[in-house]
Amino acid sequence: MATPWAGLLRLGSSLSLSCLALSALLLVRTADAAKNSEDVRCKCICPPYKDIPGHIYNRNISQKDCDCLHVVELMSVREPDIEAYCLRCECKYEERSSVTIKVTIIIYLSILGLLLLYMVYLTLVEPILKRRLFGHSQLIQSDDDVGDHQPFANAHDVLARSRSRANVLNKVEYAQQRWKLQVQEQRKSVFDRHVVLS
């Protein structure tokens, strides 16, 4: 099972996942280090009181100064009411990391974009290319191969994995071909035969 090639592939995917996790952690660290001055706020919500309407105050201020006296503009409030007014206000200190958000959205969109491109290639471009290059017959033949349920096909498959292959390009193509077959098989069991996930 754990043949060198399959093992390498798996290793690669596991490593890339752990890289993702680590980079997420690192990202948080660096974001903390270079904390954007816009990334903290002290937000005070003051409900209506007597004739003063409700108001929201928002100030870019450090955590220790986050209280009504520092944030709320008390100019419009009469002197005797200040204390009562301030008691009603609720001030909250909040932090965010704009770098994390930015990087996450960019990573997400680029993966989505790549997948969409690949999807367009697989569904639209590749069939056309294949038809041009090989003609019609091969397409039909490759469809037939999938339904092969010989009991010994599995054994062939398992044993074939232990054989080593010549060059990298072949390996990549072999891996891609195998993946395609797997997806096709999955698609059949989910969408056509409805044996799983219905």
Partner: protein, 888 residues
Amino acid sequence: MQNPEAAQETAADVAMPLSCEPKWPMLRKDPCGPRKTLVAELGVAHCVAAGTSFPPAPVFLWPPPSERLPIGVPLWIADRAGRRRSDRRVARGKLLLVDNWCRQPGTHYTMTNGGSINSSTHLLDLLDEPIPGVGTYDDFHTIDWVREKCKDRERHRRINSKKKESAWEMTKSLYDAWSGWLVVTLTGLASGALAGLIDIAADWMTDLKEGICFNALWYNHEQCCWGSSETTFEERDKCPQWKTWAELIIGQAEGPGSYIMNYIMYIFWALSFAFLAVSLVKVFAPYACGSGIPEIKTILSGFIIRGYLGKWTLMIKTITLVLAVASGLSLGKEGPLVHVACCCGNIFSYLFPKYSTNEAKKREVLSAASAAGVSVAFGAPIGGVLFSLEEVSYYFPLKTLWRSFFAALVAAFVLRSINPFGNSRLVLFYVEYHTPWYLFELFPFILLGVFGGLWGAFFIRANIAWCRRRKSTKFGKYPVLEVIIVAAITAVIAFPNPYTRLNTSELIRELFTDCGPLESSSLCDYRNDMNASKIVDDIPDRPAGVGVYSAIWQLCLALIFKIIMTVFTFGIKVPSGLFIPSMAIGAIAGRIVGIAVEQLAYYHHDWFIFKEWCEVGADCITPGLYAMVGAAACLGGVTRMTVSLVVIVFELTGGLEYIVPLMAAVMTSKWVGDAFGREGIYEAHIRLNGYPFLDAKEEFTHTTLAADVMRPRRNDPPLAVLTQDNMTVDDIENMINETSYNGFPVIMSKESQRLVGFALRRDLTIAIESARKKQEGIVGSSRVCFAQHTPSLPAESPRPLKLRSILDMSPFTVTDHTPMEIVVDIFRKLGLRQCLAPPWHYNKKRYPPSYGPDGKPRPRFGHVQLNPVDEEREEAEEEVHLLNSTTL
């Protein structure tokens, strides 16, 4: 500590060919006698005295009680007919191989009481090398827990024995010992990071339906107005930086034109997200659709679905989950997050040979991973561990509990440091209450529990009926179209109602939040006719204003809409979780009930129930708390979880004082739900799909015997058997090609019918194929020999193929008069793959019939059978399961 090497020597000392003596001397250990030391070492506190389970035949003790029994020595127990069994006992519902008997390819212990050694028998065994692929499983097959656990113990013993040889081996054994913790750490890290990514991206894309942050495109609506000081008290989400689509396209922010423009853009984005999600799922990873929890439950119980936890599934599920949530469909991300975490666990387990080569060990990692998934989905690490224990896991030893705990901790920590919502919380709808509740409120809470149970029962029925339709009729052939239609209907109806237009998590947050003076939403539009000089925290019950009444109407409409749409949404071919919509339905209902009770208490404070607790001007009803209780009740009704659900919800609120109301509501909803149907939505989906899942909670109530369910039936033709040494390769290949059985019993010969062992079909095919490739002289007419001794062959015949290494020499057997409840229990608790019911031979005496005087079978341990059956019988687990699930 026993020395394993010594054990092997002892074993070899007494090894003897099986075929040398037709009738075996009886070997037997007193189960609670000298072996107690051994049993204690394996962690069994209590030893089952099983003396009754074997025939009261002459019994020899081996080794003599004076000898110490080293670990690793197989203990054969032979019964009257000379067939051997390994002695397995069930203690406290868990499997324990008391004799600790394990095999590895190439080494076989056969034990007699003689202690003489036949050195020639091992000569050929040494030539055997492990064949790659033997011991693995086919797609859609179940694993053999017993075999896997044996394999792991054997591997562990090997590593331990090599440990002292060199520094390198020492490092390897350390790595091996730590790999369990390492793999859950990595899983926790990855699932926390992915959850952060999903949270941030889903929030951004959800808000993309409304508009865009003009000067920083990557911010969602809230982050866009983060630093803005232009927000007002009434319209606190409006700020000039955030542009709605109408503002951008037609340049006006108000009026019917802009409303229509926003409506169109909302539908456009919803449709395009849904279309992207379903086409990505269809092209790259069909297994990424759905919630994934039924399948993970099945996988954890020992089923193999290849590719279900692979890297493509992981990537596509992560990407499309964001799209599906953002498209506004009535679904949540919590269930799929469990699947995502399990994918991480599976991928990381490939880094560690301890887990990559052993399916049973891998399932321990997956249990921990599902805990991490719930931990990040709800910000509830302990709730995640309990969820894994209560809902998804099948085999959950203490070691896994600690690892789940750790994985949940790491995942929650990572998510917290990413801080995806900017509020230092792990979930959007975290709330904090400090108001007390009163005893009379238990009544509305229990009512909410009844509602939750009814909703759960209705939802399960309706959703299963709809899914069955999808599964069996033509309508299931258009998955993409279905998703688009559901998304279009959802978007068209959802937009006009402000409560359904919101992201479901935000809706839940709004419903959970109590009306303080700081709130400005229409849900909090109470008439403030009290004197206004009171302090903030202590707002008394107030009469509802116009805003509250209109909000209740909108909430009622939203409730109906959500109920209907959720039934049709769960099961479409995009990643879709059930937790959030269920919680939303419960929260809406709870909030409505809460407001009703509040108004009742306000207008009728002289009623005797309110009189004692609710004085005029006191704050006694918290509608937000009702919303929370309702959410828990509905979730409980659908999933039938109890403990984990209460813990998850109280971790969401951080208030221990609401445990009693939550418990009351969840328990009621479970009772009411169970009255209509015993299974939760996940079990219902497992049964709909026909996965082989033996539910540990279900009881087997039939009085059938193994003979009634085993194959072949009374009048059927016999199943296939292999004989020990007189079949050729061609014979076996023909048999494999003609039948579809997963394994074949191996008997001594057609005449003696004595069971030798069991060979799995996959192992057979792989072994034969590899022998044809690698060994010389193996042709179609070669004899296949499962025995230790090669039979004497004519000189010109081809070399025999020795396949003893793939033979399971201790197949589990029951008699055909074993009651089915015991058989089902054996399957459930030991995790067997198949169980043989061999004929019961008698050599000398006839025993009294196993039927009692009333014609009914004696319930237990009927080892005696009047009419010996001639053929070997085989039961596949699936068949037992079939009986179990279709007749219940």
